[in-house]
Structures are given as C-alpha cells and as structure tokens.
C-alpha cells in the first residue's frame, strides 16, 4: 500500500492530478491511500515551489503542473 499525497491549494490542476493518479493506480491494480494536502502551511513543509505536487511515501516525486500519464504509470510500476 502506497501513501500518496497531492499537494495543492485546490486549483483545477490539482484536482486533475488527483483524478489521474487515482485512475492510473486503479488501472494498474495498485492499492493506494490517497490524501489531499490543501493547507499552504502543510504544503510548504515539502518545500515545493509550484503546485500541484505529488508525494509518495513521504518523498516528493513531482511538482509544478499535471504530471504526464507515463510518469504516473512509472510510479506504480516499480513496486509491482
């Protein structure tokens, strides 16, 4: 089970990213726990400079814009 946090103050790109991650995880049959971090103080703890950001098991793997679908698929392949 991977813990995934989507960092973003609630702009549309953040929602798109969340949906994308959820969809890809389901498509690849990976179990995830999805969390939304929308308080700016909390977001800044991860020291990203552009939202949306994606954190997997405590590690920032992406920031600034909706990630490529290929990139998202890459995150879930490793563990499989």
């Amino acid at each position: 089970m991977k813990n995934i946090k989507i960092l973003g103050t609630g702009c549309r790109n953040c929602q798109t990213t969340l949906n994308l991650v959820e969809e890809v995880a389901r498509a690849q049959g990976v179990e995830i726990e999805l969390e939304k971090v929308d308080q700016i103080q909390d977001i800044m703890r991860y020291r990203i400079m552009a939202t949306p950001g994606v954190v997997i098991d405590g590690e920032v793997v992406h920031s600034g814009g909706v990630p490529d679908r290929k990139k998202v698929e890459g995150w879930f392949e490793k563990s499989a």
Binding site: I40, I48, M49, A50, T51, S63, G64
Partner: protein
C-alpha cells in the same frame, strides 16, 4: 529500471519531420488569412462595407489569426519554459542585489512557468532561499502580467509595436515597483509563519536532464493546456469585438475613453481590479474599442490592471502577506500602471 515503452516523447525523428511540416503549414495559413476571410464573406454574399459584413469579416479574419499566433507562441514558450524551472530561477536570483536583481527577476518572470495558484509556494520558495523581497515582487508582478497569451493577442490584434511596448512597459512597472518595495524594507509585514520557514534542501530542480524530444513534447503539452483552455475566451472576445466593430458608431468611445478625458486612466485601472478575466477575452474587445476612439494609453492601463491586479490573487497572497504589504503592493503597481496610461496618451 524498467524498459521504457517506445513512447513518442523520447524519439527525435518524428520531430525532425513534423516540426518543419507544421511550421510550413503555419506560415502558409498565416499568409493567406485575408484571402480566406474575403472568400468566406463572398460566399455569404456580403460586402465588408455593410455592418454585418464588416463584423463578420473582423471575426473570420481575426479568429484564425489569433489562434495561429497563440499556438505558435505558446508552443515556443512551452519549450523555453523547460529551461527555467522555478528552482533554477530561484538559484539565479538568490542573493542578488536590488537593481540588477529586479531586472533579472522581471525578465525571468516571463519565461518561468507560472500559474497564479502557485504564487504562494513560489513566493515562499523565493523569500526563504534569500531572494530579497523587492526582487521577489518584481518577479511576481511580471510573471502574470507579461504572459504568452497576452503577447500573442497583442501581436495579432495590435501589431508588433504595441506588443513590444506592452512588454517593455510591463517590465518597467515590475522592475520599478519591486525596487520601491525593496527600498521600503517591509520584511516584517510577512506573515509570521512565512518568516519562520528557513530554506533547507529543496526538491532537485526538474528540467535539467530533459532531452530535446522531451522539451518539444512539453511545448506541445503547453499548447494543449493553454490553447485548450483559452480558445473559448478568444472566440467570445473576438465575437464581441466584431459586434462593436460593425455596429458601434465611430468616435463613440472618444467621449469617455478618449485621451482628453483626464479621469479615464484611473477609472480604467479601478475598473480592472475586480475583473479577473484572462487576456484572451479582454484584448479583442479592447482592440475594437480603440477603433471607436478609445485612447491607447487608457486601454493599456485597463489591460494591465485586469491582468496584474486581480482581487482573487490578492486574497491568495493575503495568506503570506500582511495588509500593509498588500496595500503597498497594490498602490505601487497601480501608480505604475497609471503613469504608463498617461504617458501613452500624451506621447501617441
């Protein structure tokens, strides 16, 4: 490491063929806009001299023109932006002195990818890494104001001179406003939790290790994202512009947006603040108004105010800035825009 699927973004060959072909098509289309518009008007059995014909011609000529320019410029910008991740821009700006730093920050504001929902993380990222407050503001003012959508529309509807003027004056406002805010030493008006953040290790700069196909692909994604989002506004804006163009009498706007009306510039700036539309919708309307006697300076002031001073963005920034700093920010930028408007009306 997994083997990569032979996905499009990683191969150069398709680009070497596709890009020149696309460029050639683009130039061909751009060179024949008038003929096509004339032809279409003719098909409807209309003449450009009638109200309806004039309006329709405006629409049929300007819409493809603006969309072509928008696609081209947004693509180029998308590629350029892959070289300027926010992390790199910050590294370039950290520890700079006022002056040179402000000019750099304003210029980098044009090429660094920026969306207003990222204003806060970016702001904190800059300040906590030792980028002086005034320089950070130069960046924050220039980034939304001088964007590829505004430039493409200005270029398409007003020509390169006005586009360059907008670029130059936008930079000037951002640089000078940043300098002034820097001189005022307002660091204590940052929210306390912001000042408590100290820069540590940040996520590695993304974008350094990209290949050319990946950069070009990013340009394509940028087009899909930006043009995909703004094209309805372009259509609506040009549509309204076309109606104004065809039906509003000449010199109609001169009475209250002409250059002799002293209060027009401040009124335009004030009117622009609550409006949070993007450049795509506002510029075609503005262009049509100028044809009806509105002064260019007044109009430029209005555009800058709409784009640079928006109420929602102020609310976002309120999370990191205390009121005195926000008020100063608004005051300084608004004054700059006012000056731009008056100078324009006087000179042109």
């Amino acid at each position: 490491m997994n083997h990569r699927p032979a996905a499009l973004p990683h191969r150069l060959a398709p680009w070497l063929v596709g890009l020149p072909v696309a460029a050639a098509l683009w130039v061909l289309a751009y060179a024949h806009l008038i003929e096509v518009a004339d032809l279409m008007i003719g098909l409807f059995g209309l003449s450009r001299t009638t109200h309806l014909g004039g309006a329709l011609h405006f629409f049929l000529y300007d819409t493809p023109k603006v969309l072509l320019l928008l696609t081209g410029i947004v693509f180029l910008m998308g590629v350029i932006q892959t070289f300027f991740a926010p992390e790199r821009t910050r590294a370039l700006l950290a520890g700079r002195r006022l002056g040179v730093g402000n000019a750099m920050a304003a210029s980098l504001g044009i090429v660094t990818p920026f969306c207003s929902c990222s204003a806060v993380p970016l702001f904190i990222g800059f300040v906590s890494a030792g980028v002086p407050l005034g320089i950070t503001f130069s960046f924050l003012i220039a980034a939304p104001m001088i964007n590829e959508v505004a430039l493409a529309l200005l270029l398409g509807l007003f020509g390169w001179k006005v586009a360059l003027l907008y670029l130059g004056l936008g930079l000037a406002v951002a640089i000078v406003a940043g300098l002034i805010i820097g001189q005022l030493r307002m660091e204590r008006h940052l929210e306390d939790w912001v000042r408590a953040i100290h820069a540590g290790e940040t996520a590695a700069a993304s974008g350094d290790d990209l290949t050319w196909p990946e950069r070009l692909h990013a340009g394509l994604r940028h087009v899909r994202e930006i043009v995909g989002r703004v094209w309805p506004y372009v259509l609506i804006g040009i549509g309204l512009g076309a109606l104004i163009h065809g039906y509003v009498p000449e010199d109609f706007m001169a009475a209250f947006m002409g250059r002799d009306v002293w209060w027009a510039v401040p009124a335009a700036v004030v009117l622009g603040v609550p409006m949070y539309t993007n450049a795509a919708g506002i510029i075609p309307i503005v262009e049509a108004l100028i044809g009806k006697g509105a002064a260019l300076g007044t109009t430029l002031a209005f555009m800058m105010s709409v784009i640079a001073l928006s109420a929602p963005e102020m609310l976002i920034l309120r999370k990191v800035l205390k009121w005195p700093l926000i008020a100063t920010f608004i005051g300084v930028v608004a004054t700059g825009i006012l000056l731009v408007g008056y100078v324009f009306n006087l000179v042109l």
